[in-house]
């Protein structure tokens, strides 16, 4: 009963209240270790265990979940995640359903596809950037995120 009333209030005042107090989207980041569980029949199941601590060399799975909690469609949604300086991005592990993935090597100023990114090299002039050079990853949704819809973006990195 109380929930219904509360929901109604939000619905009534939602449009203006949300834009002032609350955004249209909710964003959540988790860090986890991937573990493979093998049962007696040899079937493998992958699961993610939230990580409290890790040692150098550990692989961490970062997952960013985004939800449209408003009643309006969100357009040109871009999720950007800075790779922690202690982490080395593992090439080819960034993905997100319905997104285009691009990378930055200049602290998030500009983004591009891996083959477009170059690093100034004192000797060779410029060189193609490697995964170690990436500072940020960006997922750009190909279509608007409808009201109530959600999605996720994910990558893996190794603790240096």
């Amino acid at each position: 009963m109380y929930r219904k009333i509360l929901f109604s209030i939000i619905t009534l005042f939602g449009a203006t209240a949300l834009s002032a107090q609350q955004g249209n989207l909710e964003l959540k980041t988790t860090a986890a270790k991937q573990e493979v569980v093998v049962d007696d029949e040899g079937n493998q199941t992958t699961r993610l265990i939230p990580v409290n601590t890790a040692v150098p060399g550990d692989e961490i799975v970062y997952t960013v979940t985004f939800s449209n909690i408003s009643t309006e469609s969100a357009e040109n949604v871009r999720v950007t995640n800075p790779i922690p300086s202690q982490m080395a991005f593992i090439p080819g592990t960034a993905f997100g359903p319905g997104t285009d993935v691009s990378y930055s090597v200049d602290g998030g100023e500009t983004f591009g596809a891996p083959e477009e990114l170059t690093i100034a090299d004192p000797e060779a002039g410029t060189r193609i950037a490697t995964a170690e050079d990436y500072t940020h990853i960006r997922w750009t949704l190909k279509t608007p995120l409808d009201a109530g819809a959600q999605g996720f973006a994910r990558y893996r990195a190794r603790l240096r």
């Binding site: 964003l27 573990e35 990580v51 150098p56 960013v64 950007t80």
Partner: protein, 373 residues
């Protein structure tokens, strides 16, 4: 390297085996220091009805309040990954002499973990077994261990006095000396093999508080994880002391030079004959021998013949290897101080002779003449 936990799949009473993908312990030149908080915060930019909205940052539980700084980091801590190496330095045995004091072997202890650590050091005599091809057959005395205090890589007695490694930073190394005394009775080719073990202790504890691995599952605090071989925070290596004692072979021969009847033609060893003794000292060891002193007690039936060499002025010839002849006199009591002398019937040659192992100074030959009474 985390503890493996058995899980049960819901509804199935099957024991499951868990494998951690991306096992840690991958050799890294520099590991992120333990205790580091690795922070991550994503951001979303978007438009509503073609109007750009304030960006929203992420939080571990989910954030929808727009504006930078309104999110929160998703973080984890870096564990204390304990790893070290102990490596004998040089890759060869250490040559020693019988009775040598403070014979040194050198090791390098490297902290390859991600935390500053102390290390306790324990030298032990190995019994049997081969190191560098040397089979251990004797035991060194008075084993001690010292840490190189000034980084010169050389044991300085009285200067390098620390017996444990204090607060070794990650990715740094300390040179450690094992110092022993070699038994006087050791023979050429004997080997005393030793082992140095380094045990990880908490930094600043004076190597008194052993670092212990965190038991059980991953905790929210910084865990201690052993990543070294054997996963015990202890590493060791061996070295060998090889005894290279000098070994001298002494031979004495005689020849008749002349007799009163045949003179020098087919002389015979008859009373009044002149004989020449040759003492040959050959160094068959691997080290030069110095201060060689030769004494020869003359038989009562012979008397030393004086003035036989060097134009009548000397009594003894000393030849070292291929070097030219040297001479000295067999005067009573060595009053002339040339190292050669006669005391009663004992002839002594003590000229500070060094018999090496090269052909130029090996063997040493001493010749003198006597007459048969």
């Amino acid at each position: 390297m985390k503890s493996v936990i058995s899980h049960l799949r819901r509804g199935m009473k099957l024991a499951l085996t868990m494998i951690v993908v991306g096992a840690p312990g991958v050799a890294l030149a520099v590991g992120t220091p333990s205790g580091t908080s690795v922070d991550n915060r994503a951001q979303v930019d978007y438009e509503v009805n073609a109007v750009s909205q304030l960006p929203i940052e992420s939080s571990p539980a989910g954030n929808s309040t727009p504006g930078l700084t309104n999110g929160a980091d998703t973080s984890f801590l870096v564990d204390n990954f304990v790893d070290l190496t102990v490596i004998e330095s040089g890759g060869v045995d250490t040559d020693v002499n019988p009775g040598q004091a403070d014979a040194v072997t050198t090791f390098v202890v490297t902290n390859t973990g991600n935390t500053t650590q102390d290390y306790a050091l324990t030298p032990t005599n190995l019994v049997g077994g081969a190191v560098f091809g040397n089979t251990d057959n004797i035991q060194a005395n008075n084993l001690r261990v010292f840490v190189d205090s000034n980084g010169n890589g050389t044991y300085d007695a009285g200067v390098d006095t620390a017996t444990f490694i204090d607060s070794l930073l990650q990715d740094t190394a300390a040179t450690v000396f094992v110092v022993v005394d070699i038994p006087i009775g050791a023979a050429n080719g004997d080997a005393a093999n030793v082992n140095l073990a380094a045990v990880t202790h908490d930094a600043g504890s004076g190597a008194s508080s052993p670092t212990a691995e965190t038991a059980g599952p991953d905790t929210a605090a910084v865990d201690v994880v052993f990543g070294d071989a054997g996963r015990d925070g202890t590493e060791a290596d061996d070295d060998s002391y090889l005894v290279t004692a000098a070994t001298l072979n002494v031979q004495k021969t005689s020849a008749v030079i002349s007799d009163p009847f045949n003179l020098t033609v087919n002389p015979k060893a008859i009373p009044g004959a002149l004989m020449e003794y040759t003492i040959t000292i050959t160094n068959t060891g691997t080290l030069a021998v110095d201060s060689v002193r030769v004494t020869d007690v003359l038989d009562t039936n012979v008397t030393i013949a004086l003035g036989e060499y060097n134009g009548g002025s000397d009594d003894i010839i000393i030849q070292l290897g291929t070097a030219p002849d040297a001479f000295c006199t067999a005067d009573a009591g060595d009053l002339d101080g040339d190292g050669c002398g006669l005391t009663g019937s004992t002839l002594e040659v003590d000229t500070g002779l060094t018999v090496g192992i090269a052909a130029a100074d090996n063997p040493a030959t001493i010749r003198f003449r006597v007459t048969i009474n």
